[in-house]
Amino acid sequence: MGLTEVDVDALRRAVEWGKRYQKSEPQITLLPSPLPPEGTPQWVEVATRIAGMAQAATLGLRPWQAEPCNVDDDGVIDDACYGRRSIEVMLRRKLIVLGISIFEPDVPRAIEAAERAKAGCQSPYRSHSPRMSREL
């Protein structure tokens, strides 16, 4: 799969998220040491895995729910199949429509920012709920 500049930027931020996570939970090894050089297929593989973890955390997903970067959107919707459920495909398509990378680590925040930018203004009342994505 070809990666766009937006995807690479998202993967880069996902790796940064992984580094912060590892710092806060030193007993868990998320990233290999040394990290493969950026841009190599090995780096993309590692960064994609970390992006999935970051998405699961920021979206508050349950173990059986697929992250947007692990969703199969090939036209086959199956609500009994991991990565093909309608709600999972819907979120992945929403990201693409909003111009957000499917590897975006902080999906709720990115959606909120994109929708705000789309609306063209920032309402002082819109964000009523507490932030859903966890800061590390």
């Binding site: 508050g60 199949c81 709920s129 859903m132």
Partner: protein, 138 residues
């Protein structure tokens, strides 16, 4: 070949937490958005089905407060009375629903509380998508 889900093996998918309240069908769009924001922003067990009318009234009060504030900002002085009444209703209902900082303040906790769990985004999407007939997505 895609991985098989737990559901496909016939295991029940039990989250252990009650299902979140859905907005009643008679709510308007702004109130409905407020309802979803509130329900998604609190713990799953924060409300019961019987709280729906009170919560809907609270959402209407918030929407009225927003509209009145906007009208007031636009120079409509008559909106002040509406804004005051809406604010009073918001304060009263938020205390009953334990949605204000004062109402949910714990009694001098000796240890810091746990961080709030992140709201499941798919649950939130389902709430936003929920139809009046209660259709659900896997």
């Amino acid at each position: 070949m895609p991985r098989k889900s737990a559901a496909s093996f016939g295991f029940p998918t039990v989250t252990g937490s009650p299902e979140r309240l859905r907005p009643p069908p008679d709510l308007g769009e702004p109130e409905r958005t407020i309802f979803v924001d509130l329900v998604a922003g609190t713990k799953p067990d924060a409300f019961r089905n019987s709280d729906t009318p009170l919560l809907a009234a609270y959402c209407r009060a918030i929407a009225l407060e927003r509209r009145s504030a906007a009208e007031l900002g636009a120079g409509d002085d008559k909106a002040l009375a509406r804004w005051e009444r809406a604010t009073k209703a918001m304060v009263a209902l938020s205390m009953r629903l334990r949605l204000s900082p004062q109402a949910r303040a714990p009694n001098n906790p000796s240890r810091p509380s746990r961080p709030e769990p992140v709201t499941n985004y798919y649950d939130r999407m389902r709430l936003e998508e929920a139809d009046s007939d209660g259709t659900d997505r896997g």
